[in-house]
């Protein structure tokens, strides 16, 4: 768990510094460079170590003859996957904390009903009162599919704000060092 938070911290640090996350690997003949951003878009670059046009080398031949590339692919993909997992940890933790908060509130407001339910005295009307909750629970995932990514917007705004703050602090330091 501690490792996951460390990974998350590293991933967010990279995101703030460069606006995205990146993993690279080097085979015998080619480089692999994967870049991703917070919206989940990925750019995957395959780059020959020597310039293709100048030497007239075929990239396909370079890939096929590279014996270490398969191993490097696994390494770079795993590293990139870890970084993306790190990025999703913040919203996950945020929702977990909110969940705990809501559960406490719910228990506080409905303490009497919960006691009745546990005592085994709840009738048809009690079950019917839970029906709207059941229906909404079915609808929520569907709605979530359409509006899910809107949750990212506040996170994007926070990252943008941190970025601006970092820039401001850095600029001040530059100015101070220049006297």
């Amino acid at each position: 768990m501690k490792n996951r938070y460390l990974q998350a911290l590293k991933a967010y640090k990279e995101l703030i510094h460069s606006g995205g996350i990146q993993s690279t690997a080097e085979g015998e003949n080619v480089f692999l460079d994967i870049r991703g951003n917070i919206t989940g878009d990925i750019l995957l670059f395959i780059v020959p170590k020597n310039k293709i046009a100048a030497d007239g080398i075929d990239i396909v031949e370079l890939i096929r003859s590279d014996k270490t590339l398969e191993r490097e692919r696994k390494v770079v993909i795993e590293s990139f996957k870890q970084k993306f997992r790190g990025l999703s940890l913040l919203p996950e933790s945020f929702v977990w904390v909110l969940g705990v908060f809501f559960s406490i509130l719910y228990t506080y407001w409905n303490f009497d009903s919960i006691l009745t339910l546990f005592s085994g005295k709840s009738g048809i009307s009690g079950i019917l009162s839970l029906l709207p909750l059941l229906l909404l629970s079915v609808i929520t995932p569907l709605l979530g599919k359409y509006f899910g990514f809107n949750l990212l917007k506040p996170i994007l705004s926070i990252i943008s704000l941190i970025n601006r703050l970092v820039r401001l602090i850095r600029n001040r330091k530059v100015e101070e060092s220049q006297g």
Binding site: G19, L43, R73, G99, F102, Y106, L133, K145, N171
Partner: protein
């Protein structure tokens, strides 16, 4: 009022499109650039303009055998020609867009008349279309209210013209605080558009997969790759799709959980 509403609607719909679609591109680059992409949006744009100009010139050279030598007086050959606006402001991208458009029309017409060899020409026409489209997207961003502080400030406007290379050079050597006052004020979506355009540049996209939340999945494969497929490229592209979809799934689950918590809380007391 109406214009603002329309602009807001456009912004919401483009943001929704970005947030409800995943795009995975596999690109083959000719060579690795040693320098890192600049963090400043202005310098990113300047990089991009340079890449587009270089590509137009090299494509012009490639077809010079069929169209004759470069001649800036000849509008038809503009895509090989002399760069008038050598900066990266609104007019510079207009010039790049016009050059790409003219060149695309020239290539298409020559292809129809059978004047050019078939191989590669479709890929080149697509590349010109990319230059034209992205240049227009950049212009649309630059013209927006509040984006370019130089455009909105008459004093700065009189001394700085980012359509000229000299202004970019001056900007490059400014202190960070001073540069910040001339820097473009982009929101995150606009910055992502420019960063992505600069990352892809004029490189060959061999595989592109776009996944929509409505379930649509579109994969585009370049002709060259389709003629000579490589298992390794397919596999790594699939890996990238897997990572992207997993990330998306996790975020959707987060939202679903959040929704369930809220609904649970709002449930009428039993």
């Amino acid at each position: 009022m109406f214009v603002n509403k329309k602009k807001l609607e456009e912004q919401i719909s483009t943001t929704l499109y970005d947030l409800t679609h995943l795009e995975i591109n596999t690109i083959i680059k000719d060579e690795m650039s040693a320098s890192k992409a600049p963090a400043s949006p202005r310098l990113l744009l300047h990089n991009l303009a340079g890449k587009y100009d270089q590509k137009l010139v090299s494509m012009g050279d490639k077809y010079s055998h069929y169209f004759g030598a470069s001649n800036q007086a000849n509008d038809e050959n503009l895509f090989r020609g002399f760069r008038v606006k050598d900066g990266s402001g609104y007019e510079s991208f207009k010039e790049l867009s016009d050059r790409a458009k003219e060149a695309g029309l020239l290539l298409k017409a020559s292809k129809e008349r059978g004047l050019l060899p078939e191989d590669q020409i479709d890929a080149d026409i697509m590349m010109l279309k990319r230059i034209e489209t992205i240049s227009n997207d950049v212009r649309r961003i630059l013209i927006m209210d509040g984006v370019d502080p130089v455009k909105d400030d008459p004093v700065k406007n009189a001394t700085f013209n980012f359509d000229e290379k000299e202004s970019i050079e001056k900007f490059r050597i400014m202190t960070s605080r001073e540069a910040d006052t001339y820097e473009l004020n982009l929101d995150l979506r606009q910055l992502l558009v420019i960063k992505k355009a600069n990352d892809i540049g004029t490189e060959k996209v061999v595989l592109q997969t776009v996944i929509g939340m409505d379930g649509d999945v579109t994969t585009r494969i370049s002709k060259a790759f389709a003629d000579q497929p490589v298992t390794f490229i397919n596999t790594i592209h699939q890996d990238a799709i897997g990572i992207s979809v997993d990330f998306w799934k996790t975020l959707i689950n987060v939202v679903v959980k959040l929704g369930t918590h809220i609904i649970g809380l709002l449930n009428p007391k039993g």
